[in-house]
Every structure is written in structure tokens, then in C-alpha cells.
């Protein structure tokens, strides 16, 4: 169970894996996530379900090496197994059949979180524009896959090494200024990026959804660690989300909450690097 069937390096420190999981692949839908625990010492970390193949009984995860768990995961190879692979969790993405045209925006590791939703809407014959952004050319992945599913694909890089120089909002702004309207905009990426998108789309009053990734332990509504402020309400991202109305999300609070364990994360990563001989 939970065997790694495929491993591809998509970009520096960005890895795709297909995991054999009959249960999750049978039940999952776009928008949901899994929790994994790599071994008996491991933390439970949430990862978005980038794609799934019910016939092969696999689930695709894409992750960036940022901490100990993702570093350890990156060192596993095809044929290795992950101890726990739990899900699918969270509420699936609900598409509104009346909506005709969509804009999807992904910054960096947001790409996997928009991919399965776009696939779903493409099958329904919807009009789809996409903006993807990264730090530099090497951080852009899934370009061809997304181009094939979209009417227009815009690319931005912070350093200008590929596509338009700047942030995803620098690409979005002129599109909206030129009068292009969407029934729904979906933005996933770093918190400041989602916040910037929402600040812009609010001016045009275009419904904007975001997918949040707060600190989480159990993923079943039990610990309350993933609580986020949505409008005047407290929601648990694991059971109420992870998709929320971007206009209602308190992004500043989310950013502070997500930074609570940064010191500990660094410590455990350094210890792990020393143990596997990567220490400086």
C-alpha cells in the first residue's frame, strides 16, 4: 500500500509522485487533499491532490522540498512506500454549472492545486484562462499540460527570465482593465499572492475562490489547529475547506498562524540534514 509508482522532478525542489492508493483514488475529487505520515516518527502533513487515476488506482501529489518531511519524501524512490496516506480530506470543489468562463491563477506550488479543477472544467467545455507565476523560468512547470486545457495561458516570472516580468497580478490587472470578465476566479499560491489577487478582483467584484493550507494535525475537524477566520466566522479548513470565498478570508491572520512553528521546522530540518549527511 501507498507505494510510489512514479517520481518526476518538475522543477528545482519540486517533485511529482504517483502514489498507489485504491481508497483515495476511488473516492477523491478535485479540491480535496490527503494527509501523509512518512514513517513512525513523522508529522502528518497535508498535500493537495494534484491529479488521480481511478483505473490505475493512483493519486498524484506534487510537493516542494521545504521542510523535513518533504525532504525525506523527496529521497524516496519508485517502489518505496509511505507509511500513512489518508484521505481524501476536505470538501471537493463545487463547480457551478451556470458559470461559463473561468480564470485560474497559480503562484509556484499553487499549480497542482488548480490542475485537477481545470481538468474537470475543461471536460465540461468551459472557457478557461490561466495565469501561472514563479520566481524564475526554472520554477515554471506543467506549462504544456495547462496550455492544452486553456484558452489563454499567461506566464509571469519575478525576474523576467520567462513570460512577463512581475507577479501574477501584473498579468491579471491589464486583462481585467481591458474589460475581460469571468464568472469565477480561482487563485492558489503563497498567502501574499492570494491576498494580492483578491485585493484586485474585489475592485471588479468578480467572485474569487482561494484554497488555504493552514497548519493541521488530524485533518478531521478534531484538533482545531487549522481554524481560519472567514468573514466573522471561525472555520476549520480541514472539514469546512480548504476552498473559501477569497473576499472573506483574513489573510494577515492566516499568515501569522502559519508562521508559528517556523523555528521548530528549521530545527527538525537541520537535524535531519545532519543525519543524512547534508549538513554544512
Amino acid at each position: 500500500m501507498n507505494e510510489i509508482m512514479k517520481k518526476v522532478i518538475l522543477a528545482p525542489n519540486v517533485i511529482l509522485m504517483d502514489i498507489y492508493s485504491p481508497i483515495v483514488s476511488k473516492k477523491c475529487n478535485p479540491g480535496q487533499f490527503i494527509l501523509l505520515r512518512i514513517d513512525q516518527y513523522g508529522e502528518r502533513i497535508p498535500l493537495t491532490i494534484a491529479d488521480f487515476d481511478r483505473s490505475k488506482e493512483t493519486v498524484t501529489i506534487i510537493f516542494q522540498v521545504v521542510g523535513k518531511t518533504t525532504l525525506a519524501l523527496s529521497s524516496l524512490n519508485v517502489g518505496d512506500s509511505i507509511l500513512d496516506f489518508i484521505g481524501p480530506l476536505g470538501m471537493p470543489y463545487e463547480y457551478n454549472p451556470n458559470n461559463k468562463n473561468y480564470m485560474f491563477i497559480a503562484g509556484g506550488l499553487g499549480i497542482p492545486a488548480i490542475y485537477s479543477k481545470i481538468k474537470l472544467l475543461h471536460e465540461k467545455g468551459k472557457y478557461i484562462d490561466i495565469i501561472i507565476g514563479g520566481r524564475a523560468k526554472e520554477n515554471i512547470f506543467f506549462e504544456e499540460e495547462l496550455r492544452n486545457l486553456s484558452n489563454n495561458l499567461y506566464i509571469t516570472t519575478n525576474d523576467g527570465s520567462y513570460g512577463q516580468k512581475g507577479f501574477v497580478t501584473d498579468a491579471l490587472k491589464p486583462i481585467l482593465e481591458n474589460g475581460q470578465r469571468y464568472d469565477e476566479i480561482f487563485a492558489v499560491g503563497p498567502i501574499p499572492m492570494m491576498k494580492a489577487v483578491v485585493d484586485l478582483t474585489r475592485e471588479y467584484n468578480i467572485k474569487t475562490l482561494v484554497s488555504l493550507n493552514p497548519i493541521m494535525v488530524d485533518g478531521t475537524g478534531m484538533c482545531g489547529g487549522c481554524r481560519v477566520k472567514i468573514g466573522n466566522e471561525i472555520k476549520f479548513a480541514c472539514v469546512d475547506g480548504p476552498i473559501f470565498d477569497g473576499f472573506l478570508v483574513d489573510f494577515d491572520l492566516l499568515m501569522k498562524r502559519n508562521s508559528y512553528y517556523i523555528d521548530q521546522e528549521k530545527k527538525v530540518l537541520e537535524e535531519h540534514k545532519c543525519k543524512i549527511g547534508l549538513g554544512e
Binding site: 481508497i23 500513512d84 481524501p88 475537524g221 478534531m222 472539514v239 501569522k256 498562524r257 521548530q264 527538525v268
Partner: protein
């Protein structure tokens, strides 16, 4: 021997035990157990049994201890309760069996819980379980959740010969016994041993399976399951709904205890899951969970204060646990009610504003009411707060079974047989009662098993 006095029980010294997670109560040795058993009057009326939700055959098992038949004593308990090592440790005996003990009228009641624990521990160290379930029936029953209600329902059904599968959302079995109750009150190895015994009865366990997400009732029916018992507990933490509750450093007791008990954050960085605590911690609440959280924080080196709306006497926690907490240097601040959390510019909590409360006369239920004292606000500074004010039923069940009748607070509605409004689906434990005790959940699990047996026979 003074029949009115209870045989004292050995405990780890408070000074020592705040440095470890080992069990606080060390249990009776053979001589002590014999001494205590000899105090039992063997009343014909058995008032103790009527105080027990699963009606453990108390005078009978104590008599067997008296006769040095410890193994027989253990099997006698098993006739009605398959988890004696757990119940002997965490049941609130003082408000159940021991409350009714005749010896308690003029002296101290028999230490029934400690004797139950003795029988179970003796058996664990000296013998191997042999149980003979009835002839196997080829009928599959599913149980959601491996906590006390689920374990007790599964064991009853397995003894009747059913093929039982318990589905557990976590990677460890035991539900609240594992993630909730800390090692020093209920060692994990005890929970594991009791569960191994259930495996010997043929109960099958599947971990990392979330009902309504990984599988559902339709899947179970297709897989030939004939009935379902939902015992997914009351896992959703309640919050105070006051200003500042999303500040960093404020944990629900569930999150705090899960990080430690399930994810072993106390052994960070050997284990990857962190916990972040400063020097001073405030725990809000007065139940067993509040005591557990406070005593865990104490063991992690913190100065711990319990903040409670009423007085120590009104606390719902077991007296023994309150006593243990005080012994361990935890301070209880009575008669104060939280108003708002205050944070710094980085979003970390630094203090809590509270108001003083005053006691009023008892209400019709005999519970003393409290009222805020005007202009009595004060600020309690701490690095962390743990909110332990109760839990609500698991929220996933609602979405898993849209047609299931549920009351407004998330409680699953059941009839007198513990059947829900959906044919073949039963429910029990905290998801039906709201947060309650281990033994109450076990009693419901057992009752549900009997109902399920009747239901199957009428199919």
C-alpha cells in the same frame, strides 16, 4: 484491620513524576489487594453493581481475589466488561460503583477500581487470554471508531460470533484512550494490550479509514456489511468565542493532547511534530481533560494555572485528578471567567482578560450558579493558553450521511435501541451523549451490540 479504612495505594512522588510521563498510580501489589478485598462485605443486594453502567459483577470478582483466584477474578469481570485494565484506571468509580458501597456510609468505600485494575494487571503479567466466541456467524458488522464505545460494541458482537471490522481514522487504535488520555493516567501499552485481546476474538481493525471520506455506508453495504455502529465520538473542540481566540499560542485541549499523546511532540525533534510552549501556561476549564492538559504542560516544564468559572468543589473532573494536579504544583484560580485574549504585534497571545465571578444560591438541580462581579476585570499573563471547555460530536458524520437525523448541536438521534433513523445504522458513545465518560460509552456500545444482534435476527 480497620474495616472502615481503605488500603492505601502507592503513587509516584509528585516531585519525581512531574519529570516523566510514567503512570502516577502504581496499583496494588498482591498483599494490598488481598487486604482491600477482605474489607468487602459481600452484600447480597449488591448496591455497587447498580452504580456501574456495564454492571460488572463486583462482589463476585472481589470474592475471587479474596480466594487468591486472580485469573478467575479477571474472567469474572470480562463477563460484562472487556476492558478492565482501562476501566480500572479511568472510570470515575467515586461517582458510580464506589458511591453506592455500604462501607462508604461510615468509612471509606472499597477501592473497586483499584481491585479491578489489580485483577487486570495481574492477568496481563501472568496469563494469556483464552476466550471462546460462539460459533462463527458469517455476518459482517462495521464499527466506526476504535474508542471505548466502538471497542465494547465490537467485543460483544465478536463474542456472539459476528465478523466485526472496526474502522479508525487515525493510525493508532483506541480513540480518545490513545489521543486524549495521557500516559501517566493510562499507559498506551495497556490500551494496546486490551486491543490485542480483541484481535484474538477475531475483531478486524482498519486504520486511516475516515468514514464519509475514505468509505461510506454504500460501500459497506456493497461489501455485505449488515449493520453499522457509529461511535466516532465528540472530537470537535469547543472554543470560547471571545476576542483574540485565533492568536498564536492558544491551543484547544484536543490539539495539545493529540500533539503529545498521538504524535509524541514531547519527544521533538526525535519525532517531527512540534509543540511550542513558553514558561507559563493557563488552562481554561475544570473537567478531566483540563486536568490532563494541565498535568501534561507541567511535565513539559511549565508553570501551570487552571482558570475556572466556579470553585474547585464544582469542578466536573475526578477528585483524584484534581488532587494529583494540585500535588504536582498546578495552581487553580477559581471564580473567573475569560473575556478576551490579548496579543502582541506578531500575533502571539500574551494575556487573557478575565472577570471575577461570585457564587449565588443553588439552582433547582443543586448546582451553584455564578454571576459576574461588576468592574472586577483583571489580566492574567501567560505564554500559552489551552482551551478545555468540552467537545462536540464529530462533524464528518453529518456530511457522510446527509439523511441522518441530527439535533442542532450535532448529536445523533437514536431510539431506545440506539438505532438511528436509518435502517441498520446504530450509534452510541459521545456522538449520542455529548462528551461523557469512558464507561458510559462502553455501556452504550454493549447495548448497541445487543440491539444489533436482535436487528440481525429479525432481518
Amino acid at each position: 484491620m480497620d474495616r472502615r479504612k481503605r488500603t492505601p495505594i502507592k503513587e509516584q512522588e509528585p516531585k519525581e513524576r512531574i519529570n516523566n510521563f510514567s503512570e502516577v498510580c502504581l496499583g496494588y501489589d498482591e498483599n494490598e489487594a488481598l487486604n482491600e478485598a477482605h474489607r468487602c462485605l459481600q452484600c447480597k443486594t449488591k448496591p455497587c453493581v447498580s452504580g456501574c453502567p456495564v454492571e460488572v459483577k463486583i462482589p463476585e470478582f472481589i470474592k475471587l481475589i479474596k480466594e487468591n483466584k486472580y485469573s478467575d477474578a479477571y474472567y469474572k469481570i470480562l463477563e460484562t466488561n472487556l476492558l478492565p485494565a482501562i476501566c480500572g484506571r479511568v472510570c470515575p468509580q467515586e461517582s458510580q460503583c464506589e458511591k453506592n458501597c455500604v462501607l462508604g456510609i461510615k468509612g471509606e468505600p472499597i477501592a473497586i477500581g483499584k481491585l479491578e485494575r489489580f485483577a487486570a494487571d495481574w492477568f496481563r503479567n501472568n496469563s494469556k487470554l483464552e476466550l471462546n466466541p460462539k460459533t462463527k456467524k458469517d455476518i459482517k458488522i462495521a464499527v466506526i471508531g476504535s474508542g471505548p464505545a466502538g471497542l465494547s460494541c465490537a467485543s460483544e458482537l465478536a463474542l456472539m460470533g459476528y465478523k466485526v471490522t472496526i474502522f479508525e481514522a487515525f493510525h493508532e487504535l483506541g480513540g480518545v484512550l490513545f489521543y486524549g488520555i495521557p500516559e501517566f493516567r493510562l499507559p498506551k501499552e495497556i490500551v494496546k494490550w486490551e486491543i490485542e485481546n480483541l484481535k484474538k476474538l477475531g475483531v478486524e481493525f482498519k486504520t486511516n479509514m475516515i468514514f464519509g471520506k475514505s468509505f461510506d455506508w454504500e460501500d459497506l453495504k456493497k461489501d455485505a456489511y449488515k449493520a453499522l455502529f457509529i461511535s466516532s465520538g465528540a472530537g470537535l473542540p469547543n472554543f470560547l468565542n471571545i476576542e483574540g481566540e485565533l492568536l498564536n499560542g492558544i491551543y484547544s485541549a484536543n490539539e495539545f493532547l493529540t500533539r503529545i499523546n498521538l504524535m509524541k511532540a514531547n519527544s521533538f525533534p526525535q519525532y517531527d511534530t512540534p509543540i511550542k510552549l513558553g514558561k507559563k501556561v493557563g488552562v481554561i476549564g475544570g473537567g478531566n481533560v483540563a486536568m490532563d492538559a494541565a498535568r501534561v504542560a507541567r511535565r513539559l516544564g511549565c508553570d501551570v494555572f487552571i482558570l475556572y468559572r466556579r470553585t474547585i468543589d464544582d469542578m466536573p473532573a475526578r477528585k483524584e485528578e484534581i488532587h494529583h494536579a494540585l500535588e504536582e504544583g498546578i495552581e487553580i484560580i477559581e471564580l473567573c471567567s475569560p473575556k478576551r485574549f490579548i496579543g502582541d504585534q506578531n500575533g502571539n497571545v500574551v494575556s487573557l482578560e478575565l472577570t471575577r465571578m461570585q457564587l449565588l444560591d443553588s439552582d433547582e438541580n443543586g448546582r451553584r450558579k455564578v454571576k459576574e462581579i461588576e468592574n472586577s476585570e483583571f489580566v492574567f499573563e501567560a505564554d500559552n493558553f489551552i482551551v478545555a471547555i468540552g467537545t462536540s460530536p464529530n462533524p464528518l458524520i453529518k456530511s457522510a450521511l446527509p439523511n441522518l437525523e441530527i439535533s442542532r448541536n450535532g448529536i445523533v438521534k437514536v431510539d431506545e435501541n440506539l438505532m438511528t433513523n436509518i435502517d441498520g445504522i446504530f450509534a452510541g458513545g459521545d456522538i449520542v451523549t455529548g462528551a461523557a465518560t469512558v464507561i458510559l460509552a462502553m455501556g452504550m456500545g454493549k447495548k448497541a451490540a445487543q440491539s444489533i444482534d436482535r436487528y440481525i435476527s429479525e432481518l
